[in-house]
Amino acid sequence: MNRTKLLWAGVALIAITLLLLPFALSYAGTAWVRIANFAMLYVLLALGLNIVVGFAGLLDLGYIAFYAVGAYAYALLASPQFGLHLPFWVILPIGAAVAALFGVMLGAPTLKLRGDYLAIVTLGFGEIVRIFLNNLSQPVNITRGPQGIAGIDPVRVGSVDFSRSDSLLGVVFTGSMKYYYLLLLLLLAIVLINVRLQNSRIGRAWEAIREDEVAARAMGIDTTGMKLLAFAMGASFGGVAGGMFSAIQAFISPESFVLVESVMVVSMVVLGGMGNVAGVILGALLLAFVPEILRWTVEPVQHALFGKMLVEPEVIRMLIFGLALVLVMLFRPAGLLPSAVRKRELTHERTDP
């Protein structure tokens, strides 16, 4: 009884913090609300990838391709490029569906592959998508190639335009703040789906496939269908995140969908603790925020220590990032918050060499 009360108090506290966070952040600077929004996009991506990597155990190194597909679907359907301006609640499902289709397109031919073979094929798939986006400006101009698509419509609900400030009851809500709340809603829905999935029939089937595919099939699990479902679901999350990215940025180009981004999302999942929703969220938030914090601190610190800037902040940021990846893995190889199953595996002996 007391525990449930405590739990609810905790939940309420977190909810209030999350609701008030944009106001606190906007004191530190309007940029921080935007940074928080991008961090949430990364959480969305990481949760989507977690379905594929964490639940089903299929290492996907080209996940950013689905993000790209979602982003471009949104951009093409709501920008001057083709003169289409569909509302966002029509486009987001379309983006999710197209991304899911791409997920199946990637999943179907690679069903037989496992482990590292799958990793390289997914990586190649990501590169192929990016190269196509880069070159589909010839002979018919679809994506405008490396120039990217600009002037993408913001999210509009009724008369509320998410790219402008509005005031409600005397409180001013900037565009970024409105996106923050929209993303928060989306995030809540996706976290809920993730948590519910994990303990469902499907989630257990994925876990079985991850642990031993042959045994899973012997137990009557439709491994083909389940794997495709994992790819499709993971991809559709990526597609939704991509659509939101398009709307927030109002401009996209293939630059945003490079391999490093895929690697970043995989790092978030593994660093946080594969298969554990809370861990994945933590990993994504850390990897999204820490580089930003470093960006704002590295320069002043250098000025204070040496009186001038010795090394570009960007370089130091990446060096610390790389070092952090190595160190965290050395000391917590199963991630910061390992999932229960992983923990069990780690404490038992390993049969592999």
């Binding site: 496992r114 094929v121 190269i131 070159n135 790389g322 070092l323 990846l325 050395l330």
Partner: protein
């Protein structure tokens, strides 16, 4: 036909370099099942070190061949050292960790090396000094340069040397034993840690040479060059069957040739104006020798991956790979 032979020559040169880099991936994978994502950075560091040395010596008026040799001789130990430290610090402590952990440290190491290189050599594209006089030979209508011949020759020599090492020496036997079963190898008196370190060092040395070759062939080096090259080489290793030494060689050469031929011909093949029926419907865009090219040569990088996916769909463990058990 001339274009065909020319592209074959170019493709073989590129493929030979891919093969040498792929060997580094495949040896490490074969022995500890790790995708050493940072291997491409070793190639980059090799090219960079050689660039510095060659740049310093080019002004001294030494014969060009000696300069390049000294550059390579400096690059190899540096890469060996980096390769060894990488294994010792980032991979050895994780040998019994979950499979993805060393992959993430490899990514971390790759990021660190790339940005350290950027600090040392700046973010600019560095142009190798043109010191080797360009000698060309005509071969069946294609132009072959001396550098190309040297690269292909050297690569085949190194592959031969490596094959001898792996299949004919004590170290090679120890390596194959460790790859098969580290526990049993240890029981047989193999110092597993030393063998694994040796594998990394040999792979790094090969990577260094590949870096110098790539740098002198294209005449440029940049701190990011390792990632794309590494990616292609890794694709080549998987194509041939990862963990399989001859497979990496075959995969590398095949990938190079496919890429060169693809880039040479795709524009022509995908020009819809070549096909009468389609040309008629396209009307004026095809009139007066116009073109409607669906895919230009800027799709070159796609070939490596399309071929890779196609091969893996039909042979899930690569061209020469052994059938692995279902428990990955």
């Amino acid at each position: 036909m001339d274009i065909f032979i020319q592209q074959m020559v170019n493709g073989l040169t590129l493929g030979a370099v891919y093969a040498i880099v792929a060997l580094g991936y495949t040896m490490v994978y074969g022995i500890i099942q790790l995708i050493n994502f940072a291997h491409g950075e070793l190639v980059m560091i090799g090219a960079m070190v050689a660039f510095t040395v060659i740049n310093l010596l080019a002004a001294a008026g030494m014969p060009p061949l000696v300069v390049v040799l000294i550059g390579t001789a400096c690059a190899i130990p540096v890469c060996m050292l980096v390769g060894y430290s990488m294994e010792r610090l980032a991979y050895r402590p994780l040998r019994h960790a979950p499979r993805l952990a060393p992959l993430i440290t490899a990514i971390g190491v790759s990021i660190i090396l790339q940005h350290l290189a950027m600090l040392v050599w700046s973010r600019n594209v560095l142009a190798f000094p043109q010191i080797i006089p360009i000698t060309t030979y005509n071969f069946a209508g294609a132009v072959v340069t001396g550098v190309q011949l040297t690269i292909v020759g050297l690569c085949f020599a190194m592959m031969g040397g490596l094959a001898l090492l792996v299949y004919r020496t004590r170290l090679g036997t120890a390596m194959r034993a460790t790859a098969q079963n580290p526990q049993v190898a240890r029981l047989m008196g193999v110092d597993v840690n030393r063998v694994i370190a040796a594998t990394f060092i040999i792979g790094a040395a090969l990577g260094a040479v590949a870096g110098v070759m790539f740098g002198t062939y294209y005449g440029v080096a940049q701190y990011t060059m390792g990632s794309v090259l590494g990616l292609k080489a890794f694709a080549a290793a998987v194509l041939g069957g990862i963990g399989n030494v001859p497979g990496a060689m075959v995969g590398g050469l095949l990938l190079g040739v496919v890429e060169a031929l693809g880039a040479g011909y795709i524009g022509e093949f995908s020009d819809l104006c070549h096909y009468d029926m389609l040309a008629a419907s396209l009307g004026e865009r095809c009139a007066d020798g116009g073109h409607f090219v669906l895919f230009g040569s800027n799709y070159q990088d796609v070939f490596a991956f399309v071929v890779l996916i196609l091969v893996l769909v039909f042979r899930p463990s690569g061209l020469l790979g052994e059938r692995v058990g279902d428990r990955a």
